[in-house]
Point group: C2
Chain length 390, copies 2
């Protein structure tokens, strides 16, 4: 996968800090960072309210699509050197922080191959997809407090599991620590409680996209999840890209989803089907162990938003919507070790020698994503995380 993708076509937003200075909004360009607070102070960027001097993107995101478009247009001119030659701070000289304060975090389950693999693994012999799956984008709320920026190490969680179904549960470090390769959509503009967001207007609420690693402790999750769903098996950490790629940068990569929606969804979810053509991969200790594409998502983020709000629930600036693990039909396209090793039954042979069922202490995982190629390429920010012992 190309090291590029951070040219003028991308211009993702993040929060950075130089030693001894306050965190503020930056935009990545190549291997450098534009200091938006400084550009605004110099009169080179319009910034009513001082949103670029904040330690989170929320205030800027809340300004809405017109402000996003005007800023992006202005930044495009700046990096082209049309009006001025903006100073770039070397990426190596900054610390990247969590880019926005997470309001509600919802994790969906929108890749049909991932959902079907889960069914085959946990309910062998039964219909792989649950009866609701093709009628609505199934999801659940996750823990906002533990969403962290890529680069943050992740400690193996402890918890209760029941490896032997005929014996009492045991407490200890998770023996089935996993990754999940997802996209995360970041809500920019809020909606009103009691007023569902129509599917046609839903994408306009989305500010941008990150990669998301929904770290999962499969053994803890398996014992706790009936009947109220995942809780401690997921809540210890969720890592996202420190860079938020604007939806505008990904607009050229809208494409048909790879799986048709059959049966047609109910009226409130009906739209021209679309996905994003973003190539994705999981790297484990430097070796690519899975390659897939975001076109494997069956439900679009617009449908997720229309569903989330159809009961009157509201969106807030800073809501994070995970796509769910993205898997394709082939083994090498599976977005989790649960699927890659078939819950441990088929260990994954590593090129470097040895094998993996689930993550070991010291393992480093990197999620990567890129749309297009050459100068038009748009990369999502890497999500890196090393596993620390419990």
């Amino acid at each position: 996968m190309s090291a590029g993708g951070f040219g003028r076509a991308n211009l993702p937003y993040g929060i950075f800090r130089r030693a001894g200075e306050a965190p503020r909004v930056g935009v990545r360009f190549g291997d450098g960072v534009l200091d938006l607070a400084a550009l605004a102070a110099d009169g080179l960027l319009d910034d009513p309210g001082g949103t670029f001097a904040q330690p989170a993107l929320n205030a800027f995101m809340a300004r809405g699509p017109e402000a996003w478009a005007a800023t992006r247009d202005r930044l495009g001119r700046l990096v082209s050197g049309v009006d001025a030659e903006p100073e770039l701070i070397a990426l190596a000289d900054v610390e990247l922080l969590l880019p926005f304060a997470v309001a509600d975090y919802v994790d969906f389950w929108s890749s049909i191959h991932h959902a079907a693999n889960s069914g085959r693994i946990f309910r062998p012999g039964a219909e792989p997809l649950p009866p609701n799956w093709r009628h609505m984008p199934i999801g659940y709320h996750g823990r906002s407090a533990t969403v962290v920026a890529g680069g943050t190490p992740v400690r193996r969680p402890r918890g209760q599991s029941r490896p032997d179904r005929d014996a009492p549960p045991v407490f200890g470090p998770s023996a089935k620590l996993d990754v999940e390769l997802e996209l995360g959509f970041v809500i920019g503009t809020p909606s009103t409680i009691g007023e569902p967001v129509p599917v046609d207007g839903a994408a306009a609420h989305v500010f941008g996209v990150v990669l998301l690693n929904d770290w999962s402790a499969r053994d803890i999750q398996a014992f706790e999840s009936q009947p109220l769903g995942p809780f401690l098996g997921k809540s210890f950490a969720t890592s996202i890209s420190p860079w938020v790629t604007p939806m505008a940068a990904l607009a050229p990569f809208r494409a048909a989803p790879l799986a048709p929606q059959e049966p047609a969804p109910p009226e409130y979810l009906r739209e021209e089907p679309w996905a994003l053509d973003v190539a994705l991969e999981i790297e484990l200790n430097g070796e690519t162990i899975a390659r897939t594409n975001a076109r494997q998502l069956y439900w679009s983020v617009a449908q997720q938003i229309a569903h989330l709000t159809v009961n009157g629930a509201s969106l807030r600036t800073g809501d994070l919507l995970g796509s769910g693990t993205i898997s394709g039909p082939e083994r090498a396209e599976r977005g989790s070790l649960l699927e890659l090793s078939w819950n441990g039954a088929e260990p994954l042979a590593l090129a470097a020698g040895g094998e993996r069922t689930f993550l070991e202490d010291g393992d480093e995982v990197v999620l990567r994503g890129i749309a297009g190629d050459g100068d038009a390429a748009v990369a999502l920010g890497d999500v890196r995380g090393r596993v620390l012992e419990a």
Copy 2:
């Protein structure tokens, strides 16, 4: 149930607004409100950082147990007229707002009779409690954005359900809108990610207690919940008391839980069992339809916190922990219409005539709670809500 309970023994905190004025922190005393921002401005209350002039309790809660105790002590002296005669604003002249900004909202399932009733209703013939129930306080994350102050009307949600298992799902207004009678515990001081909170130190993080109505659309919930748990069936609204009763006010009402913990929970959940002796009731259109007690909770809030953080997840100021529906063993002690009407099979006869299975448009529900009696009584703030048509 006594109309009292708001004397010196209680002194609950809330956020109030008089017409044309900014929202700020108030304390209820009888039928009046003490304006804490005014008291601080007059030098009668210590308030470093101006936390009482804020539109949410979070800044005050973050100051921690010493500040809570000092403020409570000072307020107790003030309302006794020892040092001065503080002005009270009539309750009728103020608007009560959501008392704090909700960080993460977790809803537990900690009443054994409620959990067992759910099992008997939805999995008849099977063991009523799932295998994990007696080993850990089961819970899931809910939607923070839609937590509202009591008094806010609640619109009947629309969504997908499948009333006929052999037919496709249908979309429309929920036909099984329900209430859930719960306590809500409000986290005052945060914990650190990666550092579990020991059960013995857990209660010290709790600032106070509210009543909580976890409105539920049973038909939507039933179709969506497998395998990831409740989502739109719960996320449209959660109502809490506008008054947060300090944990200190409830300390005299600690009592043994009514059900013993068998088997003994794992080490990280082990403590001297305790609950709060708070009498609770659900009123429907002025008629009491259920009476129960918070001693019916099997798991304590300290155990819930120890469990929530044992995997390294952190608490934040403003986290809200719902207890789960509180039910006793008798029919009249059930904390939801799901249980009171046995999922519609046994309609509840109303004294005013007619009957109910689930809520009808225009119904008004009030949750009430009180500990002790006479001058020593401590009431939780009522949670009132009227159902609006979809």
